[in-house]
């Protein structure tokens, strides 16, 4: 699996679109939380992708090594 990364696009005026890639399970939310908190108002609902619902067992195994 590719390395996890975050793409943040910021418009003039400060509106930011935050996209998290290559993270399985709900860890994607933890990964981007610090960046999301920099922009205090949520404009639209979080759009979850298929990886969000993927079992995180693989992730946890990698974390422990």
């Amino acid at each position: 699996m590719s390395k996890p990364d975050i793409k943040i696009t910021i418009k003039p005026g400060g509106k930011a679109s935050i996209e998290v890639n290559n993270v399985q399970g709900q860890n994607c939310v933890s990964l981007s939380k610090g960046f999301e908190d920099l922009f205090v108002k949520q404009v639209n609902e979080r759009s979850l992708k298929t990886e969000y619902y993927t079992d995180t067992e693989q992730h946890l195994n990698i974390e422990e090594t």
Binding site: P4, P12, N27, S30, L31, G34
Partner: protein, 137 residues
């Protein structure tokens, strides 16, 4: 992909605001204090933008920006939009640096700024973000 979300309203440290101001030619970071606008005093971080009659002031608690441009007659609103964009960029860079993440910045043709944050192999959970030995992320 895991998720996408859109947010606005920049929460930026004084260091971040200073860096954002430095990106605008002719702008000046005035520090924390009370600053006079046309009809009132505003308290917070003062920033003098080029062409602006009165400084814009960032509230230290709410992060809201108070400006008095008289509908653009006393200052170009586009400059203020650029300031907010740069503040978001610099706040993001500082956040990435605090976690040890690598970050690259790209100016897009439409004026947006894209930041790519590489988290390495840590998967970015709390306490993660450690760069692999022997190289950058």
């Amino acid at each position: 992909m895991s998720h996408t979300v859109t947010r606005e309203g920049v929460k930026c440290s004084q260091e971040g605001w200073q860096k954002a101001v430095a990106r605008i030619s002719g702008a000046e970071y005035l520090g924390v204090g009370k600053f006079k606008q046309y009809s009132k005093l505003q308290e917070g971080i003062g920033i003098k933008l080029p062409g602006y009659q009165y400084p814009v002031v960032v509230d230290l608690v709410t992060n809201e920006i108070a400006s008095d441009t008289y509908n653009g007659n006393w200052g170009d609103l586009k400059v203020q939009e650029n300031l907010l964009q740069f503040a978001g960029v610099e706040a993001t860079k500082l956040e990435a640096a605090s976690k040890g993440y690598d970050i690259t910045e790209t100016l897009l043709d439409n004026g947006d700024i894209q930041l790519n944050v590489s988290t390495g192999n840590s998967f970015g959970v709390d306490g993660g973000g450690v760069a692999p030995a022997g190289g950058s992320l």
